[in-house]
């Protein structure tokens, strides 16, 4: 090997050595290889670790919101209070507001305590009533309006316990904190414990969290995601139906058909730039274009869906174009060579091969659209909405909320119970996301191949 240096030509001499022992250089290269591989593994682990950490913190904060504490009471629907006229006239009964129902509950509570032999120990009847959510009165009134004939009878209700009591059984409220807490006292907590052992206070799965609408700041225990889930579903339907076809169509045109000229350059730069536009600016656009100009209603999923579509499009387009670009030209040649039109070559061969990339773009784009709040801020969807939107398609035009909006709203509230709700909502959001992506992931796996 001494002549290696003489000329490049003579460098082409054999270098005999055993394969079983690694030479210095190979060892170094292998070490570099191992390092590189480890770096990759570490990167994956970092990603997974952060994910696990975040999910862990979300789950530990939020899982508890799927269970809820209830107080089970037999309530006498006193005709003297609910229907003074005695004619069971719905209009008459409706005159009694929720404030009129509160005493019934308070009384039922006292009766139940007496019946089970639970003593208040210095907790007044009013304070005992505070263990029950303010939502209870509304539930009761709703029930009575729906069943006027029940007035005068005694009905068993599972009423929501107040947020602090619920928090007590979830570890958020403790005896120490209750001492300082203006909204609950240790005596009340002790009473709750007694009620629990008496079987009046029960904990079970919280369906209301998925079906109930949002509730105001005074009733965190009643707040649910019903409207938000509907709103998000509506918006995602719109986003998916519009952005995927539009995005893929635009990418195909730009990547496969568009002539190389200034105009296509313009479109190309535009799309890349739209990806960098902050989402709140899309909200400004939505307000100007869809609400003020086109006259669509405020707070409506249709506007939200359109705005999110515009926001998602660049992501999908960029991903799709990259995927199309990576399909080798020989595949196109092969198809064109047997007399396929360009359109056929693309739709029959190129597009299926680009599918994994397209689906990835869609997953990422939709994930972002699903979790976005800022643009909704400007089109009135970051709002307190309690009425369910109608079924589609009219429902697209009714006011609705969305999952990320609910998360955002709840993290802004004063009552700490909302933090748990927000984490619960995030879990729902993630489950939503996983479900939505699952089909895409399965499809992607089907299309993935090397050539």
């Amino acid at each position: 090997m001494t002549d290696l240096t003489v000329t490049g030509a003579s460098a082409l001499a054999p270098r005999g050595k055993s394969l079983l022992e690694l030479d210095e250089r190979t060892r170094r290269r292998n070490a570099a290889e191992t390092r590189f591989r480890m770096m990759g593994l570490v990167a994956v682990l970092v990603g997974v670790f952060v994910l696990v950490f975040l999910l862990g913190s979300i789950l530990s904060n939020g899982l508890s919101s799927f269970r809820q504490t209830y107080i089970s009471l037999d309530i006498f629907l006193d005709p003297a209070k609910l229907d003074k006229g005695g004619k069971r006239d719905p209009a008459e009964i409706a005159k009694v507001t929720t404030f009129g129902y509160a005493p019934l509950i308070e009384k039922a509570m006292a009766d139940a305590m007496a019946a089970k032999g639970v003593t208040g120990d210095g907790v007044s009847a009013k304070a005992a009533g505070e263990l029950i959510s303010k939502e209870a009165a509304a539930d009761l009134r709703r029930y009575v309006l729906a069943h006027p004939q029940a007035i005068g009878t005694t009905v068993n209700f599972d009423l929501l316990a107040s947020g602090r009591i619920d928090g007590y059984y979830k570890g958020r409220v403790t005896m120490e904190s209750a001492k300082l807490d203006r909204n609950i006292s240790p005596a009340q907590l002790q009473l709750a414990d007694k009620l629990k052992s008496a079987g009046i206070l029960v904990t079970h799965f919280n369906w209301g969290f998925f079906t109930a609408p949002d509730a105001s700041d005074t009733r965190p225990e009643a707040a649910g995601l019903g409207v938000a889930i509907l709103g998000s579903v509506y918006m995602m339907v719109i986003v998916l139906v519009l952005s995927l076809p539009l995005g893929v169509a635009a990418s195909i045109y730009l990547e496969e058909f568009a002539p190389q000229n200034r105009f296509t350059d313009l479109i190309e730069v535009n799309i890349a730039n739209l990806a960098a536009v902050p989402s709140v600016v899309f909200g400004i656009l939505g307000l100007a274009a869809f609400i003020n100009f086109a006259g669509l209603p405020q707070s409506a999923p249709v506007v939200g869906g359109l705005v999110l579509t515009l926001m998602t499009l660049p992501t999908i387009i960029i991903a799709t174009r990259a995927a199309l670009k990576s399909v080798p030209p020989s595949i196109r040649d092969a198809a064109l060579g047997v007399g396929a039109s360009k359109m056929q070559a693309i739709f029959h061969h190129v597009l299926p091969l680009a599918m994994p990339g397209i689906l990835t773009g869609t997953i990422i784009g939709l994930a972002r659209a699903l979790g976005e709040t800022a643009p909704l801020l400007l089109i009135g969807m970051v709002a307190f909405v309690r009425d369910y939107p109608a079924g589609p398609p009219e429902g697209f035009f009714d006011p609705a909320s969305a999952l990320p909006v609910q998360v955002y709203n709840w993290t802004q509230r004063g009552d700490p119970a909302f933090i748990e709700r927000a984490s619960g909502a995030i879990i729902v959001l993630l489950v939503f996301l996983i479900l939505m992506n699952l089909s895409a992931i399965i499809l992607r796996r089907r299309y993935e191949r090397r050539w």
Binding site: A94, T97, T98, F99, K134, A138, R141, R142, V173, S177, A178, L180, D181, R182, N183, A215, S216, D217, T218, R219, I291, N292, G295, P297, Q298, S299, L377, L378, G380, V382, A383, F384, V385, R386, D387, P399, T411, Q412, R413, G414, D415, P416, I419
Partner: protein, 323 residues
């Protein structure tokens, strides 16, 4: 459109949603849709014109301005009702485990102002701990989480704490002298907050301030009274000029840092949007906004002149020009 649409101040939002919820429960009308988004944005939306596409009510944590009224008029919104719903107390609170604080406005000025007076001269604020500010305060580093400059609360803080404190501790006079008796310039000097990281602007809401106090146990945050009342197990409130903030002390005017809250109703919508008039009346009814109502329970300081408001609302009396 069947539901009332409301937008505006995020300070008023909790109260408005409590009322909206009760309104939806107790009447045949749909529950109003209540948006946050800030007083400015709310009033802007209110003034965009009359019609189904525009909101009916704007919540506001400060009085509407002349320019807003002009915009309104330009867009055909000529009659607006002003409804004052009560007062919002602004409190100073720190971590529950830390030392107790009793402040005066002057303390805050000395702690946070960019320039303070020392030996009759304006100097850059050298204070590092509260003890430097006043000897009987704890020796805790100064760290304050104050609302960002877009918050209505900040305005009140600047005016009623910093500038008042500035006058109290004599800096104002020195500044006045230095600026040839230009009051505006002196006020500007007074209100300038130091930028060395001691005063941290919070763009988010009170929960963010709370989280920051949680992460920085030395920090003192500025909160709304209602938020504090919901978190008394984590926060301890400081007195201001010897007064403990509470619904009572604020209502009586003893506690100095508070501000009125309003909402503005577009009269043109009153006969068009179902339930609007009822909602407005419901909001200011004793059952809701009275001293024993749910709003007061949540921390709204009830307006002593509620009766007047109720009458005005019944009469749909539009507000006159601002004075």
């Amino acid at each position: 459109r069947d539901q009332i649409q409301i937008a505006g101040s995020s300070t008023v939002l909790p109260y408005a949603s409590i009322v909206a919820e009760a309104f939806g429960e107790n009447t045949k009308f749909a529950t109003p849709v209540v948006e946050g988004g800030g007083s400015g944005a709310g009033r802007k939306k209110l003034c965009e014109g009359a019609g189904e596409n525009t909101i009916d009510i704007a919540n506001s944590s400060s009085r509407i301005s002349k320019s807003d009224i002009e915009t309104c008029a330009k867009n055909g919104v000529t009659e607006i009702q002003e409804v004052r719903i009560g007062y919002d107390g602004i409190v100073f609170a720190s971590d529950i485990k830390g030392p107790k604080f009793a402040f005066t406005q002057a303390d805050w000025h000395k702690a946070l102002a960019a320039k303070i007076v020392k030996d009759g001269k304006l100097i850059d604020n050298p204070n590092k701990t509260w003890k430097d500010v006043r000897a009987d305060l704890p020796a805790q580093p100064i760290l304050a989480f104050i609302p960002g400059t877009k918050h209505g609360t900040r305005e009140v803080f600047d005016e009623k704490v910093i500038v008042d404190g500035c006058k109290e501790d004599g800096t104002y006079d020195v500044a006045l002298a230095a600026n040839n008796n230009d009051k505006a310039a002196a006020t500007k000097v007074c209100a300038a907050i130091r930028t060395d990281g001691v005063a941290v602007d919070i763009d988010g809401d009170y929960p963010e301030t709370l989280a920051r106090v949680d992460a920085n146990k030395n920090g003192i945050g500025i909160f709304g009274l209602s938020f504090y009342q919901n978190n008394t197990d984590k926060l301890q409130v400081a007195t201001m000029a010897g007064i403990v903030p509470s619904v009572e002390t604020i209502a009586s005017g003893k506690y100095p840092v508070s501000r009125p809250l309003y909402f503005y109703v577009k009269n043109a919508h009153l006969d068009v949007i179902p339930g609007l008039q009822q909602y407005v009346e419901f909001f200011v009814s004793d059952e809701m906004a009275g001293p024993n109502g749910p709003l007061a329970a949540y921390g709204l300081v009830s307006d002593p002149e509620l009766k007047k408001t109720q009458e005005a609302v019944k009469a749909r009396k539009p507000m006159g020009p601002l004075n």
